[in-house]
């Protein structure tokens, strides 16, 4: 298989404009004859569904929550980047492009990232026109902040609830099209399979989560906007329902999976408090602007936050400031996370042993409690609510947690996967963040894909298709429906001894230990064996009670966990193959003498795209070389 990224020829800054002109258009009168299926209505899916419906296409949209407004995008806190240069501080499309490609540790396509930076400015205009209440200055203009160590202020935000406000904007646009009858919305409906006919995506199979009904839906194109797969680790900052099922089933129907091992571990999350822990909560990255990260110089097992004051200054190791004097506590996410882990592995962690302090005492002394409260009041309250500790008086405890997945379905410049007619948008695709995502850039990418890329690129595919309705009576649909029913019956008949969550936790632990913040060939090989054994046991010994024809949350989880198991193994394979370190993927075998990540550009400057070859067959790796014509590859250094 030859991977064609379809990056247009020509100078970087002209690629998208030229490409848009070269794309075929669908005659306005014909648009209503095409049916488009949009799975997922988070930022990417809601913006795509609304925009496509506005153009005149017939859209069917699906989500598993009870309303599109509840998609995981709602939880994004910090903000969204755009190269508006409203602050006159030297920002530009070129600079946003450069920061993003460097931030991704040179493992993303130049063409894609440049387009992202280019359309970022349109996103802000669009959201403001919808009535999204971004933060403003007293003069009435939009406010910006710098985020994630960026040297310019280009992040737009709505208090600590940017994702919520952006999603509600996209949701409102979607609602308008639902009311117009252009979008048919299916809530509490989960996609279980992709249907391909003659190699083209032609529809999906879904389960109504209330009635259990399995149904087939046909369309001329299918868009998967189903979010990331961080929950393969069980514990992550993702919403509990976030899953890989839609993408994984598409993968098994021929869509290549790009860079599955690229996951982002966020340094500032609330540590695990016990075996009951069901998810992890992110504390915004912005806290590192004022908080100082430290542990005692001498291991003090079990040290509580309230006793931190007993450790004198001379007994404290501000390890980020020590190791990275110029960036200090503001080093990028991957670096901060890895260092916290190393310190805890040395035995110098506090609390449970898997935590470090994030201390605001100096900031409060310097700026006063009022100032700190104005900046972080809601975060401090949330921290207190969850842990019972008051961060105005004692240091916070933090530990890294899985947060985002850069990997996902491989797509070309048009966002089409390797299956014709199947597209993937937002966190579900692999496209723009390389090996590490910068803060405030996922919201940007999701909305860029949905509002400003897919409405153009989908026409090029549809224009060449006959517009006759696609029947769901064909053998391909019938077989997919039968298979979904069979899988469900299989689960209900196992009647084993362990709960779905027990299996999921075990999988998560293995992934975290061997395919988490740092990886070795030896560990990865071990993980592979463990996952295979766990998967075999799962299909023998899981206990799913209840029926097929009713709301059955255990069954929903079982089907998702089954896919996570298979994905987990592929992540391990990908991590094994990539014996360099880059971004969120740190291979211990590949580090500088100072212990920093060492990329191997000669060998690994490519996208790893994996092809499914059948049940229990090894997947086949395809390489898409990454060509850099506009940036010079350098090792990132934050010393």
């Amino acid at each position: 298989m030859k991977l064609d990224s379809k990056i247009p020829e020509g100078p970087l800054a002209e690629k998208w404009t030229k490409h848009k002109f070269n794309l075929k258009l669908v005659n306005p009168a014909n648009k209503r004859k095409y049916d488009i299926i949009v799975v997922g209505t988070g930022l990417a899916g809601a913006s795509a569904a609304a925009s496509l419906a506005e153009l005149g296409y017939n859209v069917k949209a699906f989500c598993f929550q009870d309303s599109p407004r509840r998609a995981h995008s709602i939880a994004a806190q910090g903000g969204i980047n755009a190269a508006k240069n409203y602050q006159n501080d030297g920002d530009s499309v070129q600079r946003l492009f450069y920061d993003t490609i460097k931030g991704g540790d040179y493992r993303a396509r130049e063409g894609n990232v440049y387009r992202l930076a280019e359309v970022s400015v349109n996103i802000i205009d669009q959201c403001v026109a919808q009535g999204v209440p971004f933060a403003r200055e007293y003069g009435g203009l939009l406010s910006n902040r710098s985020f994630g160590g960026a040297q310019v202020s280009r992040t737009f935000y709505a208090r600590g609830q940017t994702g919520q406000q952006l999603l509600l904007g996209a949701y409102s646009a979607l609602n308008r099209q639902i009311a117009n009858g252009k979008v048919q919305m299916y809530n509490r409906t989960e996609m279980l399979d992709l249907v391909t006919v003659d190699g083209k995506a032609r529809g999906i199979v879904t389960r109504d989560l209330i009635t259990g009904k399995i149904e087939a839906h046909s369309g001329h194109a299918v868009l998967l906007c189903t979010g990331g797969y961080g929950n393969v680790f069980f514990l992550s900052t993702n919403a509990k329902g976030s899953n890989v099922t839609a993408a994984w089933r598409a993968h098994k129907k021929g869509a290549l999976f790009g860079n599955p091992c690229y996951t982002q571990i966020h340094p500032t999350c609330i540590p695990v408090s016990g075996d009951h822990q069901s998810k992890l909560t992110l504390m915004s990255e912005s806290l590192r602007n004022d908080g100082r990260v430290w542990v005692p110089k001498v291991a003090s097992p079990g040290l509580k936050a309230k006793d931190a004051k007993d450790i004198p200054e001379s007994g404290r190791d501000y390890f980020l400031e020590r190791r990275y004097p110029s960036f200090g506590n503001l080093v990028p996410r991957d670096v901060a996370s890895r260092n916290a882990k190393n310190i805890c592995d040395e035995g110098r962690g506090v609390g449970s042993g898997l935590a470090v302090f994030l201390d605001f005492a100096d900031a409060i002394k310097r700026d006063g409690r009022k100032t700190i409260e104005a900046k972080y009041g809601n975060l401090f309250d949330m921290y207190r609510q969850i842990t019972g500790d008051n961060p105005y008086e004692v240091p916070m405890m933090i530990y890294p947690a899985v947060h985002y997945t850069m990997g996902g379905l491989w797509v070309d410049y048009n966002l089409m996967t390797s299956v014709p007619g199947l597209y993937s948008l937002g966190e579900a695709n692999f496209s723009d963040h390389g090996a590490n995502r910068l803060g405030a850039s996922a919201l940007m990418q999701g909305l860029a894909d949905g509002y400003f890329v897919i409405p153009y690129t989908i026409g090029d595919y549809l224009a060449g298709l006959p517009h006759a309705k696609i029947s769901t009576d064909s053998p391909e649909f019938t077989a997919a429906v039968a298979k979904a029913n069979a899988t469900i019956n299989k689960f209900l008949s196992i009647k084993g001894k362990k709960t779905v969550d027990q299996f999921h936790r075990e999988l998560g632990l293995t992934m975290w230990d061997y395919c988490g913040m740092s990886r070795t060939a030896e560990g990865l090989l071990k993980a592979k064996t463990k996952i295979q054994a766990l998967r075999a046991e799962f299909w023998q010994n899981v206990n799913v009670l209840g029926g097929a024809d009713e709301l059955n949350q255990e069954l929903e989880k079982a089907m998702r966990v089954a896919d996570f198991m298979e994905l987990g193994e592929l992540m391990v394979d990908d991590a094994l193959n990539r014996s360099e370190s880059c971004g969120g993927h740190f291979r211990e075998e590949s580090q500088t003498p100072e212990g920093e990540a060492l990329r191997q550009d000669d060998e690994f400057a490519y996208v790893a795209a994996w092809q499914y070859m059948g049940e229990n067959q090894p997947e086949v790796l395809h390489q898409e070389p990454l060509v850099f014509e506009n940036v010079k590859l350098t090792q990132r250094s934050y010393k």
Binding site: S51, E54, Q65, D66, S67, P68, R69, R70, A71, I74, A75, K84, Y86, N122, I124, D125, Q126, C127, V128, A129, G131, P133, F134, A135, R136, G139, G140, R159, Q161, Q164, Q165, Y171, S172, A173, N175, R176, I178, M185, N187, A239, K240, G241, S273, G274, H276, S278, K279, T281, Q385, I386, G388, Y451, T499, D501, N543, G546, E550, L551, Q553, E554
Partner: protein, 255 residues
């Protein structure tokens, strides 16, 4: 801690439900309320009993999916969402009663899960600014005073959980609807459609079977996002001043 739970069980929309008692022995004060339910569910499955269905997703207090009526209060004793409530807010030996939202416009689907699609239909009736993607002015061409933007944000912070309805003896949705109407009534972007919007949204709210507002303020007191009653007052002003008759305001069926 030891906790006794009295939980509403109901097989589906068409069957009658009832309370069932459960005992939990080892509850940690650090557990969130939903983690406590996870533990109970895992115990139940091990015993061969079906787990208790409840809605949740983000577990961070922002998606609005969790919807538990705990000891007579939506989201329980603290003014936050059920997912942000922790067991340290309860005492050893306490009995905790958990019910679904009770309102005829929110029928029970199963156990503690209710159908809140009425809220979506109200938003579809007019909770938007009619702009298409593309062709909009530069963001800074619409200056908005910080005070107005902040007020609009306060209204827009509603998470659509429905606690306001559950708290209200009339099961009124005025706080929820008022929040959206206010957001757009405050902002210049919302002005062109403000009259039509409020009429349509209120008509849909009535069609869904939500009750009338008698100003008891229970909604504001229980709202996890502190949505203020001024939003209801603003909506009433909008409604009474929107003397439109040229628009045909229709509502859709409530299912």
């Amino acid at each position: 801690m030891k906790i006794t739970l009295k939980i509403w069980r109901q097989k589906n929309r068409n069957t009658k439900g009832s309370f069932k008692m459960y005992a939990l022995e080892h509850v940690s004060a650090d557990m969130s309320f939903l983690e406590m339910l996870d533990v109970l569910n895992s115990d139940l499955i091990q015993k061969g009993e079906e787990s208790i269905a409840f809605d949740h997703d983000c577990r961070e207090g922002i998606c609005g999916m969790c919807s538990l009526y705990i000891n007579g209060r939506p989201h329980g004793p603290v003014q936050t969402t059920a997912c942000q409530l922790h067991m340290r807010s309860f005492k050893d030996g306490q009995t905790i009663t958990i019910e679904p939202w009770r309102a005829s416009a929110f029928p029970v689907i199963k156990d503690l899960v209710v159908d809140r699609s009425a809220f979506d239909r109200i938003q579809q009736a007019g909770g938007y600014v009619s702009v298409n993607t593309g062709g909009v002015p530069d963001a800074n061409e619409i200056p908005i005073s910080k005070k107005i933007a902040d007020e609009a944000f306060d209204a827009a912070a509603c998470i659509g959980c429905g606690a306001c309805v559950a708290a209200c003896k009339n099961a009124s949705a005025m706080l929820f609807v008022g929040a959206k109407v206010s957001q757009f009534a405050l902002l210049p972007q919302g002005k062109p459609e403000r009259k039509e919007r409020v009429e349509k949204m209120v008509a849909q709210m009535d069609a869904e079977g939500f009750g009338a507002c008698t100003n008891t303020g229970a909604c504001e007191a229980e709202c996890p996002k502190g949505i203020s009653l001024t939003n209801i007052a603003r909506m009433n002003r909008e409604y009474f001043s929107s003397a439109i008759s040229s628009y045909e305001v229709q509502s859709k069926g409530a299912d």
